[in-house]
Subunit: 137 residues, 6 copies
């Protein structure tokens, strides 16, 4: 079993807030991250796939195909977008890094099986100090 | 003459658009950066100050004081904010990295003189691939 | 289960030496790291916490609270300090990166439970080439 | 149990191709990575060793000895070399990052036991976007 | 006057050698960099353009156009190639980082004028420890 | 004229203090950097040399020779040392990053002339947020 990781980027706006909370409660819980006028990040995404090495190619999965899958299903929907308002797979979810990692897992899991690998983890870095990893349910 | 650089960060939302342009023209010129729902970045700011070394301190300027000045005049106004809507020193300016660097220069120039140094350059990194430096008018 | 990581920094002096060894033995085992006049590093600390995502906040733990805990219990005691002479939780321990990671785990484990998460790992980077991870006993 | 990681570098040329394939098939599967005139990378290698902390030294293994082992068995054979043509432990293997990680594991496993530790993982970064981890068979 | 920098990448093979030298002389001057079987690098290229900010766009030059120019004239010719054998603008030149920076300047200078800016510098990083800057003749 | 930069590292202890000041004055001016028990950093040094490209080698200067010069005259004296107590070229100077950059310039200037180049700048990074550049008197 070998683990292979592809790194991709997206730049997006978001806001942390709970619609059931008052503005004061949102400010208390989320601080400056709840600014109603949005803020944003250069997010870094690491998709790790595990599998056996194909003896014909030396690959777990073809990284060009993996990159295309990630771009089609995830990056194109997030890059230069507002995560709260414009991303279909984030509708109804709080736009936290945790929820983003879980949602990206759900977008990629089946497609990676089609490429011949198994999704192992989704890592999302929101800033150079804050990051999240999700290994599936 | 010695040059000293302080690095700071801010995370902000912005949008590139020219109010005199139609949406189609904005899209043509600015591409996905003109998304009306905003996007954002982890901006990195490098402030470089030049001066002679004070023999009593070994410093060009006191970096703690320089950092406080940058935070008070620049970072507190930009961090977790919408550059187009909420930043007093960007009112009436297109929110490009170029204009941001010029505006930050204007905010810091006099305060750095008060600290005993001379502002040499403002570098703003918008992404790991795109950055701007301004050395003054 | 989601894993969230907070990165923090501290700059400290230390020295590797075993008080039961002669200077020659210390030099043989620890090389230049045993210099009696100390040397130092810009340490980078990664604290990883695991837990379920709170549906009200989208968080495993509140990163602002986690960062405050780490600063209060760990960074304030290590930053700009001599690890061998001044850090209460390193008394009687060799100041290796391994022991530092174990001691930081012990300082943070209970406080992270109070925040609603479970400490998963402590990673300490001593230089860009040398790092240690501890997952608990 | 503590995990310690040593980072090393090597710069090498390689080419992805399957001798059983035609040039057209190689181009289809490996794309520009199959260029017959070679291309190359600044590879980054992370060797992670696990073990108990020796109370006399505070170490899992002595990093100076670990670094010498890695250099002697791996780096000296790969650095400024052609991976397809000149590296004894890659003979008969496709020069993919996956196979490189597996081969480096085999070169280091026994030597690390001799140092008193257990090899935990080999991570090879081919570019800042592509990397592989191997944890053994 | 504002300075804007675009960062791009290419992975290539090369070899340092002087055809007028014997193999022994090449080995003496260039060391392991003269390996006849090639080695390679992940090169990082920084193209810095200076100019006045266009009041209609907030740009010195349009970074999308600058990136396309760099890719068309430079990256597509170098990426996954052998610098000594396959790059038209390096024919007859020793494949050092210095000569690469000069040659890339010559490829880009006129095209950047067409974009409305002036080429200020070409920086080529061969490794994280070795880099070259060229500001023109 | 081409500019070539070599990056090197050293890990050292230091303390900012002015022997003419009282402890209270030192604490006021230098803050936690004046801790009498020392602290330390992973310093990064960038030495930039300018010159014409030698047509026989493609080099401004031979980087292997430049690296050896820097190691012999600078790194060996600073690495794993106490800058205030053990470094001959820092005797009688406040151990600030500014003074360190100036002193390293003085150590290297003549030796770089002997290699056929001209020293252009010394950059010392004390932390990822604080750095100094010196271009000579």
């Amino acid at each position: 079993m070998v683990y292979i990781t592809r790194r991709e980027h997206f730049n997006a706006a978001h806001r942390l807030f709970q619609p059931d909370f008052s503005e004061a409660e949102n400010l208390h819980v989320f601080g400056k991250c709840s600014n109603p006028n949005w803020h944003g990040h250069n997010y870094i995404l690491h998709v790790t796939v595990k599998g056996h090495v194909n003896p014909d190619t030396g690959f777990v999965v073809n990284l060009k195909e993996l990159s295309q899958l990630i771009r089609h299903r995830v990056i194109d929907k997030l890059d230069h977008k507002n995560i709260n308002l414009e991303v279909d797979f984030m509708v109804g979810r709080l736009a936290s890094t945790e929820n983003l990692a879980i949602a990206i897992w759900e977008e990629l899991e089946s497609g990676i099986l089609d490429l011949g690998g198994t999704l192992h983890s989704i890592k999302v870095e929101e800033t150079e100090n804050n990051s999240v990893i999700y290994y599936g349910a």
